[in-house]
């Protein structure tokens, strides 16, 4: 598939992404993204399945909470069990028994996170395994080859993430390297039908982000990730950079805000025209006993839930809220039962996926900003 060719319907209109509704009030839009393993509607949240499993969830659970696409981590799978093994099992889909779309990141962010173990040069990133210290190398061509072996529906180009804060010169160098790597990824891809997204960097520098987006558009990708955010900067700056990068990117292609975020972040991102999100927050917080509700956050170990017979969220229709009280969930958390992780994760992911669904409905009904006001008002009433 060569997505630089213009499909019928106009130049730069890709086959795989069809916008079905554009908000008249703001950047928010609904679309359908088609992949090798089927289509899904956006805006969408992707649960994170780092090691070929979304922690504490069976594939059946994922379908039940309404997950339409999940994310896998190239870095982790490359190290263990290895992409060649996974290839032999029909890719990540066959290996983990998930038949809907999968997006894999490129490994760039993990190398950034573990940068005391990594050395980045023009060729790529040399790093030591966080498991056994063995020497490994991942360049742009490798990142594509690994993701092709994993058989993900959407691959991400290898990028270099910029720490916060970073001076302009440091940010410029890293962003330029990301563009050169992006071009190499684009050249390295085979004709597998997998989509390939580039990743915008530029740190917190407005002009640099614009240049990054231009260079990526020049290369031409099936979609664009907005990277390097939520790395310690103030929330307002993160929103400003998100909005800026969304504006810099073509309307015609999917925009993916990487590694973000809270329910509030999703609402703001959608408003700026973001189509895709991923974050470990719903799953990780679930395991730490922090639950998301329509009225704000609940810390389940709190003593006031000891004999509370209500569900976590009285407006929620998930398996957890249909069958279990706060008192029971508190008991499971206090006794460190595995079922605590299971039920909390089901609830939090259901909350995230339902929030996206409600946003899609609001966009289609041309009342997204009203939805947004209501979303914040409910929280304020209960805080």
């Amino acid at each position: 598939m060569d997505n630089t060719k213009s499909p019928p319907g106009g130049p730069n209109r890709p086959h795989h992404f069809r916008i079905t509704h554009q908000s008249a009030e703001c950047g928010a839009r609904c679309a359908t993204l088609s992949t090798l393993h089927g289509s899904f509607v956006t805006p969408v949240f992707m649960p994170v399945g780092t090691q070929a499993t979304v922690k504490a969830m069976t594939p059946e659970n994922l379908e039940e909470i309404g997950a339409e696409i999940i994310l896998g981590n190239t870095y982790h799978l490359f190290i263990r069990p290895g992409h060649e093994l996974i290839r032999r099992f029909g890719g990540l889909h066959g290996f983990m028994n998930w038949n809907r779309p999968i997006l894999t990141d490129s490994g760039g962010f993990q190398i950034f996170s573990l940068r005391e173990l990594a050395a980045v040069n023009e060729e790529g990133a040399a790093f030591r395994s966080h498991l056994d210290g063995s020497k490994l190398f991942l360049g742009p061509e490798d990142a594509v080859a690994v993701q092709e072996a994993l058989g993900s529906d959407i691959m991400m180009a290898l990028d270099t993430c910029i720490p916060y804060p970073a001076d302009l010169r440091q940010a410029e160098e890293a962003t330029a390297l990301t563009s050169r790597w992006a071009a190499r990824c684009r050249r390295a891809r085979s004709n597998t039908g997998q989509l390939l997204f580039g990743i915008v960097q530029g740190g917190m520098h407005r002009e640099l982000r614009r240049r990054s987006a231009e260079e990526l558009r020049e290369i031409g990708f099936d979609g664009y990730g907005i990277g390097g955010l939520s790395v310690g900067e103030p929330k307002e700056l993160m929103y400003e950079m998100t909005r800026a990068s969304a504006e810099d990117l073509p309307e015609s292609h999917p925009r993916y805000l990487m590694g973000v975020g809270t329910p509030e972040d999703l609402v703001e991102g959608v408003r700026y025209g973001i189509d895709m999100f991923d974050c470990v927050m719903p799953t990780r917080n679930a395991r730490n006993g922090m639950l998301f509700t329509s009225r704000g956050r609940v810390v389940i170990k709190n003593a006031r839930f000891k004999s509370d017979d209500r569900p976590i969220d009285e407006e929620c229709g998930c398996y957890t809220c249909r069958g279990f009280s706060r008192a029971y969930l508190r008991h499971l958390f206090m006794t460190r039962e595995i079922l605590s992780y299971q039920l909390n994760t089901i609830h939090n992911l259901f909350y995230y996926c339902s929030l996206m669904k409600k946003m899609r409905q609001a966009i289609r009904n041309d009342r997204f900003l009203e939805f947004r006001r209501d979303f914040y008002a409910r929280r304020e009433r209960h805080n």
Copy 2:
């Protein structure tokens, strides 16, 4: 419910237990046991749900693997979250969202297990909480009151377990105390419709076990547990005592071999006329990566499964075997993913419940001994 009265159909034929098939070849039999939360067929295996959850299983998972009755631990629930709290939630059924039968043990075995924290006298057991060291007391009347608050369908009388080895005098004293406590439990029960089982003790002393069974029959219970086995004695001795106690107990009432055991133990127990079993083995071993199959045991972390694309057991129809390879399960185990506990537990409990189902079918078809020969032959071929 007063089960000492004779229901229609003859003396000593209880209302709640109906034998539907008695093997002509051995002690094995099929029956239906009716409780407040419905009936189930025996022989049956009860998954252990110590802290108001069968570890790593949702109630939905339990229904899917075919669990007809589960077990709760009085000792643990008494300590945390407390039986009075659970009572307010409609008992254990409401608290944990399980609508089929539940059997609760009496706490006797846990006090025995934690005996360095306990002091037993005529009145009952004074012990310190294994959680915070607080002083607690559980006598026979308390054990019944707690189980009535928990609302279990089958309650167990408080017993004293005898260590192995124990001399005759020590065993005699403990067994006599168990009988006196059993009588007090019988007197303490209210008219709730819950069944109450006595527990045979006697250590490894044939005569003492006979006396224990006689004394319990004299008191009169809705069924009888065989306790104090699988406490370190040789396997042959355990089988001998099981057989002896089964013979000592009335044919008309359910017999429950407590805390036992391996798949082989279940087959032997059924042969001797045991109707009910419980054991942590399928659930605990699942979490340690040991899986039960029709051809014997599998240790999933073994390197030879690294790229094995077969299910754990090619003859198994469980969710795990229908969707996941040994290689994937090994990967989950090596990465310590929560899904490893979930999928392994689903498989092991399905294996146990299916084994019971196959035994029931064999009994009904009058070919239990043939089933038993085949059961061992398959294992030998593959060991």
